[in-house]
């Protein structure tokens, strides 16, 4: 079986006044093409650190990361990335923010305009494509950020707590939007969150990370049908998986 992302013995230690601080113990993880893998763990467990190392935006202390078979040695560019804080630029409309991805890559924005409009329409922003970020709600801004990560059709999407800054109801709406968006545009996704429900709803595999220094304590494969609507999420099977992961954090005294 081919592997989209291969992580072998990757760790991160920071140097501080008190000496070396280990943020992430050596991690081994393989992500299959087209699968949605979540990293779930408490704050400071190093899950975002791992994502940044996969993106080539942070140097690793040891180990090797291969994306599509090529070693990561600097910023990866064949990816789409979404952060917690929306990183739309204030002076561009939703459409122009999506097309910023194309312009930054030196490609012809006219060729991607139709695709950008249809992506925005598919997340309910058909009538908001001309609005500036300050005229959009937090949820709308983050939907725009999703579209920007998908516009250039990269094989790999990296998401660092993309729903973390939103209110509970908006989060739930955006989970659904994200799931639909990815069913229409199948991608390999590495997704960082501290919400167990969120991870179980969206993932093909949930990777549970221990408190600092982070290491993988459980890998839970999920084979639930999609879309995972409210009905499915209330099923004993879904709730059983959520409870199983909660038990792990309970054993660490985290919840």
């Amino acid at each position: 079986m081919s592997v989209a992302v291969s992580i072998t013995g990757v760790s991160k230690t920071y140097r501080s006044k008190a000496g070396e601080v280990s943020a992430l113990d050596p991690i081994d993880l393989a992500i299959a093409p087209g699968s949605f893998v979540s990293l779930v763990g408490p704050s400071g467990c190093g899950k975002s650190t791992l994502l940044l190392m996969v993106a080539g935006l942070l140097a690793r202390s040891s180990g090797e990361i291969l994306v599509d078979g090529r070693p990561v040695e600097g910023p990866e560019t064949d990816i789409g990335i979404v952060f917690q804080g929306n990183v739309l630029v204030d002076w561009r409309s939703a459409l122009d923010n999506v097309l910023l991805q194309i312009e930054m890559r030196g490609q012809d924005r006219a060729r991607y305009k139709e695709r950008a409009l249809s992506l925005l329409a598919s997340v309910g922003l058909k009538d908001f494509t001309g609005r500036l970020p300050h005229e959009l709600s937090g949820g709308m801004q983050q939907r725009t950020a999703f579209c920007r990560a998908l516009i250039h059709d990269p094989p790999l999407i990296l998401m660092d707590e993309p729903l973390g800054a939103l209110d509970a109801m908006t989060r739930e709406q955006l989970r659904g939007d994200l799931e639909r968006l990815l069913m229409q545009n199948p991608k390999t996704v590495l997704f960082v969150t501290h919400s167990i429900e969120e991870a179980v709803q969206l993932s093909d595999e949930v990777v549970v990370i221990s408190p600092r220094p982070g290491r993988i304590v459980r890998r839970v494969k999920l084979d639930l049908p999609r879309p995972r609507d409210l009905h499915l999420r209330q099923s004993p099977e879904f709730q059983g998986i959520v409870a199983e992961i909660k038990e792990i954090f309970l054993s660490y005294g985290l919840i």
Partner: protein, 261 residues
């Protein structure tokens, strides 16, 4: 027809200004305050009209000094702040020098510049430049170094080179903070020009106001002060207009009294 709110917005400052001038006139007359202490507005107006040619000629002199010095400080300050922001060498050499220079009250250079360059245009421009340069440099450095970490990471993930990243993201993102510096400089500019003329000039409003107050002609002095205020406002509002045109998307451009409209 204008609605009531709009009308109130325009009328309030006019009524306030008019009542201020009328009370000033009344108090000066009522208490017989001598002309050489506080002149009444009517006397100031008389002197303004009587000396109109000289006042306007000198306004042009001071205005040119102000605009040229201010312009040069933007043309040099913005690129230098970029260099300091992006070059560690500049940060270790030029930046401490600029900070040290800023700590010196710029006025002390006025007589030195007179010795070097005489009473003409150049020493005035240099003083204006000095008082304008530092706020532009300091805010420029802040402007070019405060792009959020996540936005920086997004730019890196696109594979865009430094030039494209600068044009598409860094420069527009820097504009609001750049304008903070340019506005600060605009406030300083007329001060610099006036004081430079005061210390070593043979023309300009600063030179004229020094002569008038030396002669205890406060009525003339105040007539000149009106022009200095007008000059300063003109410069400041030009910058504010440029700001509205360039960064209409920024929060500072849509906030009034803490309420975002």
């Amino acid at each position: 027809m204008m609605d009531r709110d709009k009308l109130a917005e325009y009328l309030t400052p006019i009524i306030f200004g008019a009542s201020l001038i009328l009370s000033w006139e009344a108090i000066v007359r009522l208490f017989h305050i001598p002309l050489y202490i506080i002149p009444p507005p009517s006397a100031i107006l008389v002197q303004y009209v009587r000396n109109i040619h000289r006042i306007w000629d000198y306004t042009l002199v001071t205005g040119m000094e102000t605009i040229v010095g201010f312009g040069v400080s933007i043309l040099l300050g913005v690129p230098l702040s970029m260099l300091v922001a992006f070059s560690p060498l500049m940060r270790r050499t030029f930046y401490p020098l600029a900070v040290t220079l800023e700590m010196v009250p710029k006025i002390v250079f006025a007589p030195i510049f007179v010795t070097w360059f005489g009473f003409g245009f150049l020493p005035k421009i240099l003083i204006v430049f000095l008082v304008c340069f530092f706020p532009i440099l300091l805010n420029g450095i802040l402007a070019f170094t405060s792009l959020s970490l996540d936005l920086t990471r997004f730019c890196l993930s696109t594979g865009a080179g430094p030039l494209r990243t600068f044009i598409k993201v860094r420069l527009p993102a820097a504009l609001p903070q750049l304008f903070v510096g340019i506005k600060g400089a605009a406030v300083n500019a007329t001060v610099g020009a006036t004081i430079a003329e005061w210390i070593g000039g043979d023309a300009g409003l600063g030179y004229y106001v020094q002569i008038a107050s030396g002669d205890l002609r406060m009525d003339i002095a105040f007539a000149i002060i009106i022009m200095l205020a007008a000059l300063g406002l003109l410069l400041f509002w030009s910058v504010v207009l440029a700001e509205r045109w360039l960064i209409p998307w920024h929060v500072s451009q849509r906030t009034t009294h803490g309420l975002v409209s």
